[in-house]
């Protein structure tokens, strides 16, 4: 601690506050104490965060040079390169950490060690979007095997929908969360609300668990994922009033559950509306039988009930419709 006092003279308060926040920081406290104000640090060395001795020198240099050397501006390539400064084993380690959330271990402090990366969130979201679309397609294929009357089609537009949904969720929800936490904590950043990138990173890695369990998309995956988020957010909201903390955490879990449910119903609907995908005007019925488009269910069919149900599903494909 004596060395920290000499070097981190302008960050002493931040250091003690960080130590108070994270009692298990003894193993890796050097880099955390001397991290510059924004957690978006220029990577001065390679990414080996377990070598404490190397880190002391690197972070000493960082602290000393902080006054003279500016961070690269956001218009330079080096700025973005600092977010991809991870090795293979680090990414795998972070993924493992998200699969097994533990109450005491804060994902941001313990796994990210305050060095968020954008590789994980970006490619996990991309993988999840494609896996969702592919599995939805597979579901349709298997349903067609069982019931040959279903019209199979690749449904490629679902890829677009999946991509947009997942990326919006993984970026806009952390943005809202970060904004809310900053607002609650005021401008005292040293008391530890996470930076925007750390929040994005946590959300990105928490979505990983949906990839292998995409067939189920079930309660287990949702529970694991939401648990990771809650355990990470708990130290930050702990100081707030109980009501605000409870509301925040429940909103986070609720949004996550909505994502899971929405994906389940949109991508894995067993009977898609493809059966009547050509709207009634394109059917083979002679024009005299065609009724006004608002009431096609009065057309005499052997199974009037299902035509009506299918027509509803054609109009509103995104709403969940449970099969009777």
């Amino acid at each position: 601690m004596a060395a920290a006092d000499e070097l981190a003279f302008h960050e002493f308060e931040e250091a003690t506050n960080l130590l108070a926040e994270t009692p298990e920081a003894a193993t890796t406290s050097r880099s955390e104490q001397l991290t510059p104000q924004g957690h978006v640090a220029v990577a001065v060395g390679s990414g080996d965060s377990y070598g404490a001795e190397d880190e002391v020198e690197e972070s000493d240099k960082t602290a000393l040079l902080q006054e003279e050397k500016q961070q690269p501006g956001f218009w330079t390539f080096g700025y973005y390169q600092s977010f991809f400064d991870v090795d293979t084993w680090q990414v795998l380690d972070r993924i493992r950490g998200s699969l097994l959330p533990r109450p005491g271990h804060n994902f941001v402090r313990h796994r990210l060690r305050n060095r968020p990366d954008l590789y994980g969130p970006f490619w996990i979201c991309a993988t999840l979007a494609f896996v969702l679309a592919i599995t939805g397609n597979l579901t349709l294929l298997l349903a067609q095997r069982r019931d040959p009357s279903i019209h199979y089609s690749p449904q490629f537009h679902k890829v677009t929908v999946a991509g947009v949904t997942i990326y919006c969720y993984a970026w806009l929800v952390p943005l809202a969360l970060w904004g809310f936490l900053r607002w609650r904590q005021g401008v005292r950043e040293r008391l530890g609300p996470y930076t925007f990138l750390e929040t994005v990173c946590v959300y990105g890695y928490s979505l990983f668990v949906f990839i292998p369990t995409v067939w189920l998309f079930g309660v287990l995956a949702l529970a694991l994922s939401a648990a990771g988020l809650v355990f990470t957010l708990w130290p930050v909201v702990r100081e707030d009033t109980r009501l605000a903390a409870a509301v925040l955490l429940s909103v986070v879990v609720l949004l996550h559950a909505l994502l899971a449910l929405g994906c389940k119903f949109y991508f894995f609907q067993p009977l898609p509306p493809a059966h009547v995908a050509p709207p009634p005007r394109a059917t083979a019925l002679p024009p005299s039988i065609l009724l006004p488009p608002t009431s096609p269910w009065s057309v005499a069919t052997p199974d009037g009930q299902s035509l009506q149900a299918q027509h509803e599903r054609t109009l509103l494909p995104a709403l969940p419709t449970l099969r009777p």
Binding site: F77, F84, V86, W89, F130, F156, T160, A282
Partner: protein, 194 residues
């Protein structure tokens, strides 16, 4: 060596159009051969061009079109979707590998990724021919086998060219997006129904 010097002459301005086109076509053909028989060479990297990727992408996108009218809403990928996936996918992978610290230039990487779509374009051709026969499980098995083989070929070819430019402890991070890219294209090919 002499022909190289001649290339930089202004005499290429005066040559006939046929000469120009044949020269470019020969360059593209030579790179196709390099992709089909991948060895560790840097021909693709040294003399990169984007004609080959463009030809392959347009061919693939045209072949993935279905002829029927009722493919507006839940049909296969439209031409623009295939085009966007191929080009933006390649750009994203290139940016990713540069951000991870790879020392390959932007267009070299685009060139390699584009040329390595050749096996999958061949697979698309074969699938379209196989689909002319009657549908059935054997039909599907043949197509699945062809697509898997060509997918593996694409991955091997592209990693043969790209792997050396990555830092050693991040190779897997740079190769995984390439795997995802070719997997998505293979999926589009496999689920194509006329």
């Amino acid at each position: 060596m002499r022909s190289r010097i001649r290339e930089f002459d202004s005499s290429t301005l005066n040559e006939s159009v046929q000469n120009t086109i044949m020269r470019d076509l020969k360059a593209v053909g030579k790179k196709f051969m390099h992709v089909l028989y991948p060895r560790k060479s840097n021909t693709l990297l040294r003399d990169w061009d984007l004609w080959g990727p463009l030809i392959l992408c347009v061919t693939l996108a045209l072949m993935l079109q279905r002829g029927s009218v009722d493919s507006e809403k839940d049909g296969g990928p439209q031409f623009a979707e295939v085009f966007v996936i191929v080009w933006f996918g390649a750009v994203t992978i290139t940016l990713n590998s540069k951000l991870l610290g790879g020392n390959i230039s932007f267009f070299q990487s685009l060139c390699v990724l584009g040329y390595c779509i050749l096996p999958l374009t061949v697979a698309m051709l074969v699938c379209r021919l196989v689909l002319l026969a009657e549908p059935g499980p054997i039909n599907f098995m043949v197509r699945l086998f062809v697509v898997i083989v060509m997918f593996a070929w694409s991955i091997i070819a592209s990693t043969a060219f790209l792997a050396d430019s990555q830092p050693p402890n991040r190779k897997a991070l740079a190769v995984y997006p390439v795997f995802l890219f070719y997997f998505v294209i293979s999926w589009m090919i496999l689920t194509f129904t006329p």
